[in-house]
Structure formats: structure tokens, C-alpha cells
Amino acid sequence: MFGYLGKRALHSVVSVLGLLVLVFFLTRLTGDPSYLFLPLDATPQAREAFSTLHGFDQPLHIQFFNYLGDLLHLDFGESLRQNRSAMEVALEAFPQTLKLAVLAIFLAGALALVVGSLAAAKPGSLFDRFASLVSLAGASAPDFWIAIVGILVFAVSLDLLPTSGTGSAAHWIMPIGVLMLRPFGLLVQVVRGTMIGALSSPYVKTARAKGVRRQKIIFSHALRNSLLPVITVAGDLATSLVNGAVVVESVFGWPGIGKLMIDAIIQRDFAVVQSTVLVTACAIFILNIAIDLLYAVLDPRIRYQTS
């Protein structure tokens, strides 16, 4: 197991380094940051001074070697806009997204397991049809629209929740509600589909013949065997949430890493782009390893070997 983990970690380090090289050159392709950082009427001399100050006047390969040298000293550069360490900016934003993503994916997963299992227990029933309708609507409704409507209804009309921001427990309700809607919708469909297959398996028929209670058959026998594809999809959804819940962060003024990354790309704040990519890439690699380990826990047939 430890050998496997070591091998995965090594692969991850190589992948992260490759990603950083790619991001370095891709960001430079977007153009000269002075056009976005300085006022439009800045003189050519001012643009030249800006480029010299930040090393953008150097040939690209020199910039790259300087960047690698700085990386070795764990210096990730300074944000052009925020006048402070780019890594500090990224690490400040990441926990905000992580907390939101973890809560949203756990709540969506737990709810989907219950609703999907119950829907699969009686396919074609009224509950099943209602669950399918809600889950499909949740999976396909644009979260931007849901967020705005949520604000108008719950904050403006009913005055029950704050419109946006952070601070109290009430501030979490709408962002999490909106963020979990799509994962919930998709996971209900996955749970329902795999559970229908599991519930028609011979071992379930045997359990029924032996007089095992219905709830135990559904939640203890069938559900555990249906979890692997659910974990795969949930892991994929969690990855996209950790990568930044851009829309939710933008609409609700949530200071997360998704919006930070998009803003940094638009503003050509290269050091922040590189730092946010590094932080999210590391998080995603850790998440993937955790999902692999979870497979082994759920299915005793799965064993990881180093060879």
C-alpha cells in the first residue's frame, strides 16, 4: 500500500511540474500584462518601465529559468495587482472553496444515496418519477440563474437569508444549496441506475427469499455494492468543485480560488495564475489518491500493488 502511495505521489509530482511548465508558457501567450495593468493612456516609456521592473522584457527562456530558480526557493512570485505574495493570495482563497466544496459534495452525496435508493426500490412509482424530475432539473438548471432567483426569493422577498458574503451560518445556506444542486441531480441518477441493477441481482433475490428486511436489503446489501460507480462520479464532481465554484463564488461574493483564478487570468496576473493552478492541482492529486484508497476500502477485491 505504501509503495503504491509513493508511486502515485511521484507521478503526481511529475504531473504538477509538467503542468506548471505548461501554465507558464500558456500565460505568456496571452500577451503583455502592461496593457491591462497600466491605464490605457500610459506612455510607451511607462510600459517599458513596467516590463523592465517585472522582468517581462527578458527573453522567454530567461524568464522561465528565473521562474524555475525562484520555485526552488519556494518563491512563487508577487501578485502584480495585490502587491503581495501570490502563494499567500492563493492559500488564503483555497480553504474558502474547499470548505464549500466538501460540504456541498457530502450533502449532495448523502441526499442522493437516500433518494436514489428509494427511487430504485420501486422503479416507475410516483416517488421515482418525482425524484427523476427533481434530479434532472437540478442537474440541468443553470446555477447562475438558480443563484439569482434564490437571492430574489430568499433574501429580497422573504428576507430570510443574507444576499451574499460570508460571516454567519446563514451565509452558507444559499451558496451550498446552489452548489450541491447539480451534483445531487447527477448522483441521484447514478445511484438509481446502479441500485436498479443491484436490486435485481441473485444475491438480493436470495436475501429476499431468506426473509431479510427490505430496508436492510436496500441500504446494507445492494447499496454497498452500488457505491463504486457513485464514488467515481462523486470524485469527478468533487474535483470540479475543488477546482473552483466560479459561478457561485462570483454571484455570492465568496472569496474562493475559482473566481481568483479567473480574475487572475483575465488580468494577466501571471504569478497568481501559477500559484492557484499549483494549489488546486495538488488538491486534486490528493483527492484522486483518496478516491483510489476508498475503492479498496469499499471493495475487498481491490488491492493496490507497486509492481
Binding site: 521592473l53 502587491n83 437571492i151 428576507d159 458574503g165
Partner: protein
């Protein structure tokens, strides 16, 4: 049971009242929340010309020597009480006595010298220097409260230029930009986090004590959300909402925001080098119909300088809508061999202003209706900037460029040279007469200066028809009912908290 109901009603009313009214700040005065469209990227006083920075810093934490009167564009005293021109290249400023920085240090001639040296030192990027162009400043303290500022070339509008030089404490680092500014303003920085900026009233302020004791700035990108925050009482003011969100006449106020939209004509490229073609472009647009895209309060523009800025020419009449005349001018040009059928690129910038794409599509249709061949291309800001500034792309061909220009700095000198002087960064034409007039205007003072700029604007409009001015743009703010404050020409760059009053 009845008592419980009554209690609940009172409690609910109290809760609603507490959210709808500004709270009391520690240390006295009311606390308000202002919701901005974007996060201040930093709090460096040298970047105060940027909207996101200026709306928090300018006139609140930091103050300049002079401020621009939004009604007539003239510089007014702030930290300098008066000034005079010693000779062509030297101005003398007399400083306000009894002013302290928020860290307790004295504001004096040395502090002015320190600030201007820090601005021009080159150790970090100072955006505000863009307003000075190539002007080089030498600052010499004469005595404790008098300072001489010398420029290499005559600079008749130096007092106006200094409205962007925010005075900072001599303890401010000179080798890097800062996020913890210390100035002389009525408010001092409490905290700056990724979620809020909080300013507290500065008890040692030299001027009148403001009514607002504490201001918390938050930021939300969505206009409808910002409007909703003021409506629900979560915030008391938001400086920029979209026209479709400005639905409540009691709280939503429009203001001329110092931005002018226009289409720049590349006059070096045939057929756009023919004045009849350029006039036809102006006459072919149904301006009344176009105005509907930007709101009822928008002001049709005849020039790139807004009313209230020195040099604006009130006698200039915008081009009218006369498609027949446009077609006739085109036919005349064609008869003289001008290649009017050449495809002309209409270059727009994504997101330059609300309904910007729709405006270009409408204009393209109207131009094609009178005989032009227009090819619309929408670019992102980086690509678009290549066409805006010299050196222009060699292969650009005949083109029309969608632009928006902002000048709230009091003088047409911040507009005219860059657009209309041969050496101007955005200029697509060279006219010796206009160059001479601009040279004279830049060296003139008082009424002569105003008239000189007015003459230039008339020249480029009437004789050369060098561009297609569209509209002086309007912004909308939502102000909570509990506040007494109205936006003006400077709101895009500053929101002075000291000017905000509470309704009794």
C-alpha cells in the same frame, strides 16, 4: 398568547430596523456598508486613478494638494490653500497648516517632496503618473509650508495634475507599493482582507468631522445583487448598477460619469481619408434610436470632452441623422474616384460598455444601408489595444474602432493631445494646423486656454470630421433612503465619505 404575538411583532420590527438602518460605529458616528463592483486590487495611493482603488482611497484615506471641481473642472484647494506661477516652469504651492497624517507625522513641504519623489522613483509601478505624461517634476521645499515644483517644460495645468498625487506619510516605504496607506484624510484604514476593507473615522482630521463613523466596503460582481443588497439594507450605497436594475426613482440616481463613447476613424486608410466619407459615416446613424440602447438620460456627444471639463465646446452641435445626405456624400466621393466600396473593418471590444455589441451591430446595419461595406469584428482587450495605440498594426486596412474615453481631471489636455496631435498615442491623422493649435492650447492659461481647446474641438469636428462621437455616458447609483448623497462626474474615481450625510 396575545402578548407573545405582540412581542414577536416588536422583535421582528426591531430586527428589520436594525438591518435597514446604518449601525452605530465604535468611537461615534454611523457605520455604513458600501458595495463595490469589484475588489480593490490593492490600496496603493499611487494607483488611485484606478476606479477600484480610488473609490476607497481618494478623499477618504489620502488627499491631494488640489481637487477638481466637478461643475467647471477648475482645481480647488485641498492640502494646498493657494498657488501661483513663479515663472513658466515653476509653480509655488502654499500648504495647509495644522494637518497631520494618520500616523501622527506632520504634513509639510518635506512630505510633499517625499510623496512626489516616491511617485516618480520608479521602484514600483505608479499608475497615477500616466496623467503626468512625460512631465518631470523637481520639488524644492521653500519653507515649512511652501513648496516649489518645477517642470522641464511649461505646465500650465500643474495644479490640476496634482489632483492625482495623493500625499502619503513620510514613513511610507519608497521601494514598494503598499496595502496599508497612511494619508491625511478623514478616515484611516482599519482592515483590508479578501472580503472587506474597513475605514474608521480619523479623530485628528484637520477638517470638519464627518457624520459617517465607519465604512465597510464589500464587493459583488453582479449588478442585480448589489442593487438587492441596498434594497434589503445589507448595504447603504452602491456606485454602479446596470440600467435595468435602476428601477426605483427614490433610491436610484443617474449621473454623467465622464465617459464618452465614440468610433475612431482610421483617417490614414482609403476610403476613410476622404472627409466626405467620414461625414457620411456620422450622418448615417439614427442617433435617437441608438440612445435607447444606453438609457433615457444619456447625452448625445459632439466631442470627446464632457460638459464640466475645461475646453468643452458648448456650441458644437452633434451630427444629425440624414441618410440621404450620407448617401449623396458617398456618391460624390465615388464619382471622384474614392474607393467607397472597400470593405471597412468595424472593430469592437467585448464588454467595453453595456450593449456595446448591440450598438455596433445597429451601426453596421445603418452604414450598410447607405452604401458602406462593413465587416464587424469583436476582439478582446489585448487584441483591441493593438489597434488603439501606436504603433498600429501594418496590415490593419481601413478600420473603425469602438472606443470609450474617460476624462474627469478637469482639463481637455487629458484628451485632446492623445487623440488629435500628430504624435498622440491614439491619433490616426496629422494636421499641421491642429498641431499648432494644440501646442498653443497646452501653453495657454485661463480663458485663452478654454477658447483654444474649444477651437480645436470645433476644427476636428466641423472641418476634419475625424471621429464619430456617440454619447456622454450615464452611470447609475443606488443610495439607501437613510443617506443624503448624490453622485457626480467624479464618482467613478472617488466616493468621499465625508460628503455623505444621514437623513434626519
Amino acid at each position: 398568547m396575545r402578548n407573545n404575538g405582540a412581542f414577536s411583532t416588536i422583535a421582528l420590527a426591531a430586527l428589520l430596523a436594525s438591518t435597514a438602518l446604518p449601525a452605530l460605529a465604535q468611537g461615534g458616528g454611523k457605520a455604513i456598508t458600501i458595495v463595490l463592483p469589484e475588489q480593490p486590487s490593492n490600496l496603493e495611493p499611487c494607483g488611485s486613478i484606478l476606479t477600484d482603488v480610488g473609490q476607497v482611497l481618494s478623499q477618504n484615506i489620502t488627499e491631494p494638494l488640489t481637487v477638481i471641481n466637478p461643475k467647471d473642472g477648475t482645481p480647488q484647494p485641498k492640502l494646498a490653500t493657494k498657488w501661483e506661477r513663479v515663472n513658466d516652469t515653476t509653480w509655488r504651492f502654499h500648504l495647509r497648516d495644522g494637518v497631520k497624517f494618520q500616523d501622527g507625522k506632520e504634513f509639510n513641504a518635506e512630505a510633499v517632496a517625499f510623496t512626489l519623489k516616491r511617485m516618480t522613483g520608479g521602484a514600483f509601478t505608479c499608475n497615477n503618473l500616466a496623467k503626468f505624461g512625460s512631465a518631470k517634476l523637481t520639488v524644492t521645499p521653500v519653507d515649512r509650508l511652501t513648496v516649489d515644483i518645477k517642470t522641464e517644460k511649461p505646465e500650465p495645468i500643474l495644479p490640476a495634475l496634482l489632483s492625482v498625487a495623493m500625499m502619503v506619510s513620510p514613513a511610507t516605504p519608497t521601494d514598494k507599493a503598499v496595502n496599508d496607506p497612511v494619508g491625511t484624510g478623514p478616515y484611516k484604514l482599519n482592515t483590508f482582507t479578501p472580503q472587506t476593507v474597513v475605514l474608521d473615522r480619523f479623530d485628528g482630521y484637520w477638517g470638519k468631522t464627518p457624520e459617517i463613523g465607519k465604512a465597510t466596503y464589500v464587493w459583488r460582481g453582479e449588478s442585480s445583487l448589489r442593487a438587492a443588497m441596498v434594497q434589503t439594507g445589507e448595504a447603504q450605497l452602491t456606485p454602479a448598477i446596470a440600467i435595468q436594475d435602476a428601477t426605483n426613482p427614490e433610491t436610484d440616481f443617474s449621473y454623467l460619469n465622464s465617459e464618452t463613447t465614440a468610433i475612431r476613424i482610421d483617417t490614414e486608410q482609403p476610403p476613410l481619408n476622404d472627409v466626405r466619407v467620414r461625414k457620411a459615416l456620422n450622418l448615417a446613424i439614427d442617433w435617437q434610436g441608438m440612445a435607447e440602447l444606453f438609457g433615457a438620460d444619456v447625452l448625445r456627444a459632439s466631442q470627446m470632452v464632457v460638459p464640466g471639463i475645461n475646453g468643452h465646446n458648448p456650441d458644437l452641435k452633434p451630427w444629425g441623422y440624414d441618410p440621404d445626405q450620407a448617401a449623396k456624400l458617398l456618391a460624390e466621393a465615388k464619382a471622384d474616384g474614392v474607393p467607397v466600396g472597400t470593405a471597412i473593418k468595424l472593430i469592437g471590444r467585448n464588454g467595453i460598455y453595456p450593449n456595446g455589441n448591440e450598438a455596433l451591430e445597429a451601426m453596421m446595419t445603418m452604414w450598410e444601408a447607405v452604401g458602406f461595406d462593413i465587416d464587424l469584428q469583436m476582439l478582446d482587450v489585448a487584441d483591441w489595444t493593438r489597434y488603439l495605440q501606436k504603433p498600429f498594426p501594418q496590415e490593419r486596412g481601413p478600420n473603425l474602432l469602438q472606443i470609450m474615453h474617460d476624462n474627469n481631471k478637469g482639463d481637455a489636455a487629458f484628451t485632446v493631445p492623445i487623440f488629435y496631435q500628430s504624435s498622440g498615442q491614439y491619433a490616426t491623422f496629422s494636421d499641421p494646423k491642429v498641431d499648432t493649435l494644440i501646442g498653443e492650447a497646452l501653453n495657454a492659461t485661463d480663458t485663452a486656454r478654454t477658447k483654444a481647446f474649444q477651437e480645436i474641438l470645433a476644427e476636428v469636428h466641423d472641418r476634419i470630421a475625424v471621429d464619430i462621437p456617440m454619447f456622454h455616458m450615464i452611470g447609475y447609483t443606488r443610495v439607501g433612503k437613510e443617506l443624503d448623497w448624490r453622485p457626480n462626474l467624479t464618482t467613478n474615481s472617488e466616493i468621499p465619505l465625508a460628503e455623505i450625510r444621514l437623513r434626519k
